[in-house]
Symmetry: C2
Subunit: 235 residues, 2 copies
């Protein structure tokens, strides 16, 4: 029997129409649908593609404790790899939904590293939150010979500052409860006025503002701070 | 009369099916199609979406001298902004094709900065070459709390080295005739074995290899070097 293929499908940053034709077609014809989900909550990834689903697919939610600031429990991925492996062995293709792009800070990598040696795995790249946020802000992320730094907000303040000092443009991801530190570092670097905050880019409830106007001490998981030395965004 | 909208459409890295549903729908219904093209050559951007075109659109090629290592002639964009402005004033929407993502090192920014103050401009984000290359290589670009540096190969060797020293992962873009310098810098940093070369990712004639096996002294415009400290790619 021909073994099935595990497709890591980039479904884009949130707007259901930001899925690619390629991912859409695979999503429509795969007999098995897998997706990350928080414990006892609906899956955001599934809700993004819901309007595209053909119905009748076997669904495998990969439920993980979404503890703040911890990586997802690795045993959940051990379980998922075994579960999905059975479908592949029985010849069924799997569409595994990945918010944004599977290989851009995606949790798909935890599944990928467990499956790639013994199964057919293909990744379909998607629109990442990085360019999704830039589109929402209405300002180029990087142009010409800019250097661009993608920095997790979990870095220590001095490490963030050192990298911001030599970057023309930066995207600070995983902001969450680090928003105060991020703001303080940008201010010390003289770059607070060059930074914008964006949350849930391209979703119906998206928000964006100059970083100096973002008053909260906590940002949601799907948020980002973009900085460019050329100054404020156009829009 | 309602004025038209200029849509900067990210059409993805090269595979025609890596266009988003959103860009596809705008592409199909816009009465005017604009795209970059080299002098006296077919437009790569147009060829990527050719199979999706409805026919009967007014076409505005933006032809520019593709001099190596120079930014496109700014007078071409002055002309294009005026030409496209007329269509917008007469109420016609324009689909402007952008390889990859319009705001990720795209030449669309030259048009954007000329149009955004006086016209309706919307950007539809696309799959960037960054994640397109990672998908082709079959290895995550960045995971967990990695820092990721996007670096133009035009940087001086010592500036490239300084940024590579503090990056977990890096994408070196605009490789072109700088390939020897890029290889030398990565070798000096002890990172040559961690780097892969990719050209024309997701196109029919894509190629990729460990950087150490890339023998040429020149790389095409659509090429990139990806590095990750975790070591070699899986695939």
């Amino acid at each position: 029997m021909t073994k099935g293929t595990l497709y890591g499908l980039g479904i884009g940053p949130g707007d259901p129409d930001l899925i690619t034709l390629k991912a859409y077609n695979i999503l429509r014809r795969a007999p098995v649908l897998a997706y990350p989900a928080a414990e006892e909550q609906d899956s955001l990834a599934r809700s993004i593609v819901e309007r595209h689903l053909p119905g009748g697919q076997i669904e495998v939610p990969i439920r993980m404790p979404m503890r703040v600031e911890r990586f997802p429990a690795q045993e959940v991925y051990d379980w998922a790899a075994e579960e999905l492996g059975k479908h592949l062995d029985e010849g069924r293709d799997i569409a595994c939904l990945c918010e944004g792009d599977p290989f851009f800070y995606g949790s798909f990598s935890f599944l990928f590293e467990r499956m790639v040696e013994h199964h057919n795995v293909q990744v379909v790249p998607g629109v990442s939150s990085l360019t999704g946020c830039a589109a929402v802000l209405g300002a180029p992320l990087a142009t010409r010979n800019d250097t661009l730094a993608v920095l997790p907000a979990t870095l220590k303040a001095e490490e963030l500052a050192a990298r911001l000092h030599v970057a023309d443009a930066a995207a600070i991801i995983k902001v969450g409860r680090h928003i105060e530190k991020v703001r303080a570092v940008l201010r010390e670097c003289g770059l607070e006025e060059n930074a914008h905050y964006v949350e849930r880019a391209t979703m119906d409830n998206q928000q964006w503002m100059p970083l100096s106007e973002m008053a909260g001490a906590n940002a949601p998981y799907f948020s980002m701070v973009l900085m460019h030395r050329r100054g404020a965004a156009w829009a």
